[in-house]
Subunit: 328 residues, 2 copies
C-alpha cells in the first residue's frame, strides 16, 4: 500500500461535515484537519478527534497536506479562496455558479499554473456528474436533445428567496420535476418544454405572528425569476412541523439524452440520482475527485481542471489492472 | 477548423455499417474507406461513394489514416486483428469477452507501445459506458452495492445457442430484466438477487419441418449456462413472423448503485440505456472514442487504454472552453 493521501478540509458547514464523514470510507486517504474562519475550539466535529485549525494558519501545512477540499460557498467564499488556496495546495471545490464558471476557471488556472498545483473545480453532481452525462449524451448521439430535470429536492437558493418575503419566519422550497414531462422525454418524443412544464415548486412556510397568509402567498408565487414562471404551491405549517418534516436535504434529478442514429433509430441515454442528502453526496463526489487531483499533480498535470478533464479511473483507489478485471 | 480526423473501418457487418452511418454525423471526421476480407466490390455499402479495399492492402494506408475503427467480432477477429493493427495504426475496438479483457489488453498494449500508437479497447456500452458507471458508483459511494440489469434486448450469444438446438430452423432470444427486481433495487433495499430473480429469457423459434416442439422446448430451457438458471419461455412462430417482428436489434439495460453516506443516508445513482439498435449505438460510442484515441496519440499518450483511462472531454468535437461554458 502506498502512503495515504493527506487531506485538509476548508470550511465546516454541511458540506465540510459530509467530507469528514466520506473520508472515513476512503481507505487510502487520511484527514489532517479542518480549517475554519471561526474559533476552532467552537466547532462541533463529527469525530471529536479531528484536529481543527484557524484558516489563517494554513500556510504552515504546505508540506503536510496533499490536497485541500474547499467546502465554502460559491457566492462569498470560493471566488477568493479558490485562487488563493490553489496557489499553495492541490484543491477540489464545488463552485456551482454556472454562468461564472469560465471566469472562475481562469482565475484558479492562473494561480495553479504559477504554483505547479492541480485544482479541480465545480465538482459535485450539477455541475459535475450531470455535466459528464450531458457530455456523453451529445458526444455519442450528436443528433438529439438533452433534458435536465431537478428534484424532488430542497433548493437552497429558492428557500432563501422564500425566507426574504416579509411575514415569513422560516420556510423551505422543493423543486419537483413533472412526471408527465419526464415520461414524454423517455418516450423518445423530443418535446419542446417550457419552464412551467418541466418543474413545479412547493413551499412550506412558517408565518410571523400577525402576517397575512394571502399576501405572503401572493408575494411568493409572483416573485420574478424564482417563482413567477412556475406553478407554485404554498403550504403554511408550524415551526414544529418544519423542524420535524423538513430537516432532511433530499435532492436528485435526471439527465436524459434522446437521440437518433442511422436512418432515425431512436436511442435513449438516462442518468439519474435520488439522494437522501444532497450535501453528503456532493461531499462523496469531492472526495473521489480529491484522489484524482493528487494523482494528476503527481503526473505533472497542473492547472485548473474540471470533471470533463479527469479520466474516470483516477477516481478509484483500485489499480488500473484491478479495475479492468473487475469493472469492464 | 483543424484538419478532419481521417478514419478507416475494418470489417463491414452491422457494426461497420453503424460506424459508416455515425461518421456522417461527426463534423470533424472523414471516412477514408472500409477494409474487408471479402471481395470489396461485393460489399453493399450504405453510401455507394464510400471506397472499399481489401484488408490485405491496409499497410499502404499507414500515412493516410489517423485512426482505425475495428468492427470485427471478439471471438475470431479481434484477438488477432487488435494487436496486429495497433502495430500500424491508432485503433478503437469493442472487444467484449469480459473474462479475456486483461489478456487482450496486454497483447494490444505491447503492440501499441512498440509502434507508438494508441489503442482504446472494449469500447461500447457493456463493456464501455456501463463499466464507467460501475466505476463512478463504487468510487463515489464506496459503501454500497452495484446492480447491472440487461434488456429488454436481443442477445446474440443466446440466439446462437437457440439456433444450435436440433429441430430449430431459426430463432432469436430476448433477455428481459425483472421489473420487480429493479423496483426493489431502486427502493434502496440492496437485496441479494439470484440469477433467476434478475432476468428472464424469451425465445421466438421457427421449427424445422417435422421437429417436435416439446422436445425443442425441453432442450432449450434445460441448456446449462445459457438457460437452465433462468425462467425461459419458448414461443413457436412462422418464418414470416420472425422476419416481420424480430428483425430489429433493440437492447439496453441499467446500472444502479445503491449506497449510503454519513450515518446511513440512502443514496441512489442510476444509468440506463434504451436502444433501438444495439449495433448503431455501439458504433456511435466507437466513433466518439476514435476521436479520443487520435487526440491522446497526438499528446504522446501511447499504448492500450480503456474507457476508464479517457478524460470525457476528449470525446467531444467542441473545445474545452466551449464545453465548460455550455455543459458544466
Amino acid at each position: 500500500m502506498e502512503q495515504a493521501i493527506k487531506v485538509g478540509i476548508v470550511g465546516y458547514g454541511n458540506l465540510g461535515k459530509g467530507v469528514e464523514a466520506a473520508l472515513k470510507r476512503a481507505p487510502d486517504m487520511e484527514l489532517v484537519g479542518v480549517f475554519t474562519r471561526r474559533e476552532p475550539s467552537g466547532l462541533r466535529l463529527l469525530d471529536p478527534a479531528t484536529p481543527a485549525y484557524r484558516l489563517a494558519e494554513i500556510d504552515a501545512f504546505h508540506e503536510k497536506i496533499d490536497v485541500l477540499i474547499l467546502c465554502g460557498g460559491s457566492k462569498q467564499d470560493l471566488p477568493k479562496q479558490g485562487p488563493a488556496l490553489a496557489a499553495l495546495f492541490n484543491t477540489v471545490d464545488s463552485f456551482d455558479t454556472h454562468a461564472k464558471i469560465p471566469e472562475y476557471f481562469d482565475a484558479v488556472d492562473r494561480a495553479a499554473r504559477q504554483a505547479g498545483t492541480t485544482a479541480i473545480i465545480s465538482v459535485g453532481w450539477d455541475p459535475g456528474l450531470f455535466s459528464l452525462n450531458r457530455l456523453f449524451g451529445e458526444a455519442i448521439l450528436p443528433e438529439g436533445d438533452t433534458y435536465t430535470f431537478w428534484g424532488k429536492g430542497l433548493s437552497q437558493g429558492h428557500s432563501d428567496a422564500v425566507r426574504r418575503v416579509p411575514g415569513v419566519k422560516a420556510g423551505v422550497q422543493y423543486t419537483i420535476p413533472s412526471p408527465e414531462a419526464i415520461a414524454q422525454v423517455r418516450s423518445g418524443a423530443r418535446p419542446t418544454l417550457t419552464t412551467r412544464e418541466k418543474h413545479r415548486r412547493e413551499c412550506y412556510v412558517v408565518l410571523e405572528d400577525g402576517a397575512d397568509p394571502a399576501e405572503v402567498e401572493r408575494q411568493i408565487v409572483t416573485m420574478p425569476h424564482y417563482f413567477a414562471d412556475y406553478d407554485t404551491t404554498v403550504h403554511f405549517i408550524s415551526e414544529e412541523e418544519l423542524r420535524r418534516d423538513h430537516a432532511a436535504m433530499p435532492h436528485g434529478g435526471f439527465v436524459i439524452r434522446s437521440g437518433s442514429t442511422g436512418e432515425g433509430t431512436a436511442q435513449l441515454m438516462e442518468f439519474s440520482l435520488k439522494l437522501g442528502s444532497n450535501s453528503e453526496f456532493t461531499a462523496s463526489v469531492l472526495v473521489a475527485y480529491a484522489r484524482a487531483a493528487y494523482r494528476l499533480n503527481r503526473r505533472g498535470r497542473i492547472g485548473a481542471k474540471t470533471v470533463l478533464d479527469v479520466a474516470p479511473g483516477l477516481l478509484s483507489p483500485k489499480s488500473p489492472e484491478q479495475l479492468r478485471k473487475e469493472l469492464l
